[in-house]
Symmetry: C2
Amino acid sequence: MATTIGIFDSGLGGLTAAAEFEKLFKNKKYIYFGDTARVPYGTKSADTICRYAFQDTKFLINKGASLIIVACGTVSANAMDKLNSKFDVPIIGVVEPAAKKAAEIASAGKGRVTVLGTAATVKSNAYERAIKKIDSSIEVLSVPCPMFVPLVENGYTHGEAAMLFAKEYLQPTVSFDADAVILGCTHYPHLSDVISQVLNGSTLVNSGKEAVVAASKLLGADFVSEGDAEYYVSDAPECFEHLARIFMKKDAVGKVNCIDIESF
Amino acid sequence: MATTIGIFDSGLGGLTAAAEFEKLFKNKKYIYFGDTARVPYGTKSADTICRYAFQDTKFLINKGASLIIVACGTVSANAMDKLNSKFDVPIIGVVEPAAKKAAEIASAGKGRVTVLGTAATVKSNAYERAIKKIDSSIEVLSVPCPMFVPLVENGYTHGEAAMLFAKEYLQPTVSFDADAVILGCTHYPHLSDVISQVLNGSTLVNSGKEAVVAASKLLGADFVSEGDAEYYVSDAPECFEHLARIFMKKDAVGKVNCIDIESF
């Protein structure tokens, strides 16, 4: 049966998940929606986040998506139950797959996981809850890294500034000596190099990638999905290429369409 | 005649203008609106920025404001003509008053002005146009400082990180040796210390403060405006106090109300 994947994020950070999808499923179609008119979600109230997530999901289903990947940490941490009870298609967030992977690594090791996330994601405690549900003996240390998103979006993924903030946020966790470090925001994989330098020896878990792996298990490798990837944003499509270059590490990603998300 | 000032910004950065208002007009009432549901404006399209600015202005007028200060660089750079032709009350942006002040300083000096702003403000060229309109012989050098807003919002107004980015952005302008440096974003006055250290000898022009000074000239010192300041946001009022502490340098700013700005 034909299955088209829909991926959404509050902005364009979720393109890291799209890049992982392309690696795993070469030449298969997906539909990406970045809610650039309403980014960021992390500072919004829980009700607003839910309303936005419903609209984003409805838009992708209307476009033909039959499996949704929520590549947004804020929605994954706050709205998955409500999303799954409202819609019939399978909806996969970034929290549970990454928690599962990190718990596997920790259960086979010293039993410790560090979670790096935005202030809102850390405050939500979602990763910790998901890990403890799998194995309540795992110790979890969550660290908010609020400057990581602006660093990535402005191209500071290496060098002095990236290292300065990586050390500030992560140095206190060095002695915690986690088996696995969840990069709990789709922007963070771009800082993998500096994070690895500070947290030498821990395995980094990319939450966007784990969501795609979870989707692939649901789909099987031979699902049918024909056509070129489609990209939609809710504002300023001309800004898309700049960030797409950062997030997907390629120069062009095809036509970008602007839609009125409030109408969904 | 009773006159109540309304101040709006895309978020809470405009509270620096509110703080200047409080300094200049002790105990006089003002109404602040921060569009926290739709911040930031700088990444939005020109049409969207205009629509938002209309709603923000209409809300403040409905609340009784009879003079509006637009404490938002993006709106001031993109929508002042349209705002002034749509509404009857006087509307003062942050671009023209700061341009006027900087031009005065430069005309009495070496004739050079540096403008620091967000990428969107620099791209709009609004400060340069306003300065050239006053004195076309003034040389203007505009520098985008995209990391300054996240630095301020996360409390990095002093220290190694603030200095690192101040040097990166400003070092190339040292040899330009401007008479005046416009802080073309309401967040930037919080980085005045590090900016002054790098650009030793230039006079810093605070765009929010100059807008308040321009309003005071329209009003006269003895205008009547009774009552406590009122604060409104369009989302997450619980986040207001944290940023209010940063922007107004005080612990409590009174009750904050949440409104549905889309209904205006």
